[in-house]
Assembly symmetry: C2
Homo-oligomer: 431 residues x 2
């Protein structure tokens, strides 16, 4: 009714309509490809469920008239050829892998929603000038090989990652390449440089995602326009002690690697709070004890630590303090700090001004309330920003929940996001 704005009325033959019920059905269907019972979702890189999810997405891309291509690690591209196919394309997309016992919206909204945005534009009579591409990124989540945004890091040209993957194994000692081949990828080459995007492949990349925070829901706002993505880092730590029998070794003779791990977990929290900024976060999501028996003193503890900030320097100070604490704890408890490895330490990314403007205008034309915000979670967009102008669209989700079964976004919220994405893509396609 209020869609009588310049772009829509000038360019499209009919108003934008997103089929939210169909999108919801697809989300529900995809969620059943899980290795844990509903409502939880567990879909790990190159497992049977991941392969089935990829097949499902490729099928939908085909039904929407997109031509499908896959690269050597399984990044999937669905292309709608524009009137000027030689121009850099406009891309959108996200991921469909899901960490253990998580939910069904994270990432998925940005893949199924992107295909629906293509459908929206096709129904509206839109003709792209620049080609439009929908991307499914391989392994945004670090679950299997400890590497987040594996697909987009490679697309962004990470030589270091391409090299590291040659000696990367999962927890079951399966190599990255064996796993990739079992899913039908990396068939006749170990050289992953074929995955690297040529500079200028895309004139813009836009990702639709649930907020994974409570702000939009709390404030009753429909659309979050992301201006920057926080800088993530992840660290692996291992302590080793002598272990021994829980009854027989007296307290003064112990060097308990589990208690060293527990102390470091609490130190991570303390150092993050010491930063004094609400934007600093730190998490010990993994803490494993070996041998893991009630009557054995832990002889080894393994921690994986995630810390992020929108300020890179502040985050790096936190990492340095964590390192100092790990050394001090090891000394005090007479355990060995056998590993302190910074797995990644990425810089933050800024959204492109012209894309922010396109998202803002799209929201206004659709009469949707919007807010500029920071993404505290990181996304494939962080890495796409290295090879393309980038922007992100957030939609509200229930209580900000994510990475757990209670994750939820309403059909209304998704419909709004899909329409803003569609209109943004249309605008960028004509630029």
């Amino acid at each position: 009714i209020h869609e009588s704005h310049s772009f829509i009325s000038n360019t499209l033959s009919s108003p934008l309509y997103a089929d939210a019920q169909n999108l919801q059905n697809q989300i529900d269907e995809l969620s059943r490809l899980s290795d844990t019972p509903a409502p939880s979702v567990t879909r790990v890189l190159y497992t049977e469920k991941d392969v089935l999810a990829r097949r499902y997405i490729k099928n939908l891309m085909g039904l929407s008239g997109l031509s499908v291509r896959e690269d050597a690690v399984g990044n999937i591209f669905g292309r709608w050829e524009g009137d000027e196919p030689e121009l850099a394309a406009v891309a959108t997309g996200s991921h469909t892998d899901a960490i253990p016992y998580s939910g069904k919206y994270d990432g998925v909204v940005g893949v199924l929603g992107a295909i629906e945005a293509i459908n929206v534009l096709k129904r509206s009579g839109f003709k792209p000038k620049r080609s439009l591409e929908v991307i499914l990124f391989t392994s945004e989540e670090p679950t299997r090989f400890g590497i987040s945004c594996l697909g987009s890091r490679l697309l962004a040209g990470s030589e270091a990652l391409a090299k590291a993957l040659k000696t990367t194994f999962d927890g079951q000692n399966i190599s990255f390449f064996d796993a990739a081949r079992s899913a039908g990828y990396a068939n006749d080459q170990d050289d992953l440089s074929s995955v690297f995007l040529k500079k200028g492949t895309y004139s813009a990349f836009v990702e639709l995602h649930i907020e994974q925070g409570p702000i939009l829901e709390d404030e009753g706002i429909s659309i979050g326009i992301v201006t920057a993505i926080a800088a993530p880092a992840s660290i692996k730590v291992e302590f080793e002690g002598n272990g021994g029998h829980a009854g027989a070794v007296l307290m003064p003779n112990r060097n308990d690697a589990g208690l060293a791990g527990a102390e470091l977990a609490l130190a991570v929290e303390r150092h993050v709070l010491e930063s004094g900024s609400i934007d600093s976060v730190g998490t010990v999501g993994i803490l494993e004890l070996h041998p893991g028996a009630i009557n054995s003193i832990p002889s080894r503890s393994h921690l994986e630590i995630d810390t992020r900030d929108i300020n890179e320097e502040r985050r790096n100070i936190i990492i340095e303090k964590i390192h100092q604490s790990a050394s001090a704890i090891a000394k005090k408890r007479q355990v060995k700090l056998t590993e302190f490895k910074i797995i990644n330490q990425d810089p933050p990314a800024l959204s492109e001004k012209s894309i922010i403007k396109a998202m803002e205008e799209a929201s206004k034309e659709l009469n949707l309330s919007h807010k500029f915000m920071i993404s505290r979670a990181y996304h494939d967009s962080l890495f796409m920003a290295r090879v393309s102008p980038m922007g992100m669209i957030f939609i509200p989700c229930y209580k900000g929940y994510s990475h757990k079964p209670e994750e939820f976004s309403s059909m209304d919220a998704m419909s709004n996001g899909v329409k803003v994405l569609a209109l943004t893509l249309a605008k960028l396609s004509l630029e």
Copy 2:
């Protein structure tokens, strides 16, 4: 040479000789029945390796002329009929199960060593009056079902355990009875009261075991004569919080169940040290985080706590303090304390004076240095003490190591232990 003492010269036709090399070969052979690579040993209740180990022991019992019987949960009895078989028998034995990544001597020395003690007596020309029995106890270790000394608790007549086992499942959700049946036990009955020993079945029970502490080795003493076994307790704790995304949920909005677990682990250590006694110990051997992903705030933590003391009251005060800390931590961190379950809280056991005397005399007659000591680890003897007079013989082990691959006891040490056991059994058999 110095064996010219009363009992040996009066009763036996030749001096006592233990074949330590054969015993060592058997220990090495048994250690290869493991689910983890050498030198570690992992042999868990009712697994294929446990079943193979049982077959190996039954075969050795047969070769030593013992008649073999098994009960409904797989306690195995090898009997050497005495001249007066209607009298209460004298028993000895230990366990062959091994916690993950442990060593090859814990328990095994008390089973293979007991069979060798029978061989020693047979070679010496001894004729028992009371029958002698070698017992292999089922599941001394709590690995699979969280229940330590499962076999000996049942032998001691635990109605509570017999009942609990009807609803007990392992980590893979396999019921105790399905597991037992897969190993060939509990075939046509769910009623475990058949396992309970009649009072007066045994006039004495003696267990040979490595010390699992450093005292005998440090002091250069050959034989530890155990006068009491410390009182063990084990506790399961679970905290639950909201979890969420490690990037998106800001620190003030978190209720991290993993950090609650880490705090409780450190509180256990603190409360044990507060007791002021060297004899108080406490261990968090298991601390598991859910979902266990680097980018997820833990929504659940599961701890298993072991605490022991030779003073029951002091140990119970520690348990009470751990409970108070768990509640306080839950309140402070706004997580739920969804479980605080005391799995067992056993009283300590005292050795029988007459058995202590027999062990002391045996050591003296064999010219072996000995020392009275407390067992800080607990054993099947703790439960056998409920239905039989009890005693334990300790031998030195390398650095007191146990429950890890470095566990070691020399052939000399084992030979001494076997001879003291043989002579003690002989004495008790004639009483």
